[in-house]
Amino acid sequence: MNNFFFRINDLHAEVEGKKILKGVNLDLPKGEVHAIMGPNGSGKSTLAQVIAGRESYEVTEGEILLEGENILELSPEERAYKGLFLAFQYPVEIPGVSTLYFLKTALNSIRKANGLDEVDTYEFMALAREKVKEVGLDEDFLKRPVNWGFSGGEKKRAEIFQLLILQPKLAILDETDSGLDIDALRIVAKAVESMRSKERSFLVITHYQRILNYIKPDRVHVMVDGVIAKSGGFDLALELEEKGYGWIEKELTFAGGRDL
């Protein structure tokens, strides 16, 4: 009997024959916040996208278990129904599809799949108005096409807005902090903190330690060249901030690239 909430076992993934994830192992208990840090190109976004079900990456080995179920068999939408949410590093612009319609459809699809009643347009509007304020965006955003013409910062806030609406069990934030000024960062962090609960886990992918001052992680993992090369407490984030990633890469080389 496996009572872990979210667990990745020996995950290997590649794209067009290029190996990117080379045996990722991770345990994320319910209610905890874990950070994944690591240099550019180490495979953090690939990991996030594979968890969410992006089909362009081929998983060649391993499993991803959410509440004991291997979600690799599931479509991206089915994973969303199970309570998974990925805030994209580069949120996609969708011309012509209004944010309001899209998000209401998303919410109701998830509710329906979980045997809950759909919310009507008025209930949804009330919810959306409340949440859009929390991330400091204007109500006008709801009418605009999804991410269409948004600035980088607006896109990141809009991702958090969607997160607040959809209330997932497991939220993965892929560099949501990158490119945000300190005010926007505080807003984002506050919204995430407000959602922190015993029932919800977060995987915060970041390149910088900065955001972790606001969203204090229970554990920090370092990804290097497609594997989790080191794990530790919050102190590890501070150490990385000070020393950079080079020393871990070296340790990894000394250890033959595995099993530190």
Binding site: S75, P76, E77, F85, A128, R129, L142
Partner: protein
């Protein structure tokens, strides 16, 4: 070849018959030129640049017969309050309902100047064919300064047997400073019927015209429309065309900007599927200075559908300060679909701003994944994107009732669109 000869005979016979008395002298004269031209050159073949991707197939191999004049009940085709109905090219008198300031006549005793001139027959042999065959011609007139809130609908019904042809012909004259919306709708048809409508629209000075054209004939029918617009000084034309596809649907559209400050937006959506072939051939002529044209044609192709977009912006030497944009965007939903996109510029003035762009691509898989990762089903995500792609054009129609009608027609051919629900009406003011 011998069939072309027989079609030539048809043209000559038809022309000789004195049954053509219902049309006006100027048109009669033009008709003789058209008949001569067609007898001279015959049907266009794929050797013609304009017909390279548009083979005529049996249209040029079978001798079609003129469809009969009929009286039928067309009420089911009517959607707007005001309008007229033509059945096989004949006005259905009892179905005429027009507001004050709008009238319809047959052209026999009228003095007016046709927009189609002789040189158009050499440009387009198919027009020479259709022009030599019409036997009724109408003029729909909107008074100067008339401001009409309700659209005027012109329904063209083809009610005919296999290998029958119809040639409806209308001249629409919009007086100076008038404001009006037209809906030109082509419906009916059947297996291998051939519709050859000819429409001329003259937009008076400072008038404001929205002109919506919907081609929604039976799927096995042949449809070759020729439309020509002239837009006078400071007038504005907004033309929106919707082709729902048939075995062969072709629209040749000429827009002449003939007065300073005239502007036109010329937009369209085509949605061919199965074995459809849809062609849109546009010619925008900037004849005077300070004229503006924006063209946006968008196509969504399913199954083994094919499409051709050919757009030519022709800037005359006099037309300094022309501002012209032409855009053609295509989405292929299947590996078998094939879109041709041929934007062209022909510029004789030196101080102009002209651009064109064309794309043929697929749905953005990253956007699909993004939506799916938030719980939106794959099939819905796809139809949402296709629908949004088409909406950009439809949104240019400001009358909301009409816009919703066009939207419904588009939804009726988008795969899985029933999942979308009532998209436009789900928009709530925030």
């Amino acid at each position: 070849m011998s069939e072309t000869v027989r079609s030539v005979d048809l043209v000559i016979d038809s022309y000789k018959k004195e049954q053509l008395c219902a049309i006006n002298d100027k048109e009669k004269l033009l008709q003789s030129v058209a008949a001569e031209k067609f007898c001279d050159v015959g049907f266009p073949t794929q050797k013609h640049e304009e017909w390279r991707f548009f083979p005529l197939g049996e249209v040029s191999k079978v001798v079609f017969k003129r469809a009969d004049k009929l009286k039928i009940d067309c009420s089911s085709y009517r959607e707007e309050k005001f309008g007229v109905v033509f059945v096989n090219g004949h006005l259905l008198e009892e179905a005429v309902l027009l507001p004050e300031g709008v009238e319809i006549f047959d052209t026999s005793n009228l003095d007016f100047t046709p927009l189609i001139e002789e040189n158009r027959f050499a440009q387009n042999p198919m027009l020479a064919f259709s022009y030599s065959l019409f036997e009724k011609s109408y003029l729909l007139r909107v008074d100067s300064k008339a401001v009409l809130d309700s659209p005027i609908e012109m329904v063209f019904v083809t009610h005919a047997d296999k290998y029958n042809f119809v040639v409806p012909k209308v001249f629409v004259e919009v007086g100076d400073v008038a404001e009006v919306t037209f809906v030109e709708k082509h419906v009916g048809g059947g297996i291998s019927t051939l519709s050859l409508p000819i429409v001329e629209v003259s937009v008076g000075k400072a008038a404001n015209v929205t002109y919506v054209r919907v081609c929604d004939e039976e799927r096995k029918s042949y449809h070759f429309s020729y439309s020509i617009f002239s837009v006078d000084r400071d007038a504005n034309l907004s033309a929106v065309s919707l082709d729902l596809g048939s075995i062969k649907t072709r629209h040749d559209l000429v827009v002449m900007l003939v007065g300073e400050g005239a502007s036109a937006s010329v937009d369209g959506v085509y949605l061919p599927r199965k074995n459809d072939l849809v062609g849109n051939y546009l010619l925008v002529e900037h004849r005077m200075p300070h004229t503006t044209s924006h063209e946006l044609y968008k196509g969504v192709l399913q199954d083994s559908a094919r499409s051709v977009f050919k757009g030519l912006i022709h800037v005359f030497k006099e037309a300094q300060k022309t501002d012209a944009i032409q855009e053609n965007r295509n989405i292929l939903l299947s590996n078998e679909a094939l879109a041709h996109s041929l934007p062209q510029l022909l510029i004789f003035a030196d101080d102009v701003k002209c651009t064109h762009a064309s794309t043929i691509g697929r749905l953005d898989e990253e956007a699909i994944f993004y939506m799916r990762s938030r719980g939106v089903k794959d099939s819905l995500a796809r139809s949402l994107m296709v629908h949004a792609f088409c909406l950009e054009v439809i949104e240019r129609v400001s009358n909301s009732t009409l816009r919703n009608r066009l939207d419904k027609k588009i939804l009726s051919v988008i795969p899985n669109s029933e999942l979308i629900g009532n998209y436009l009406s789900s928009e709530v003011d925030v």
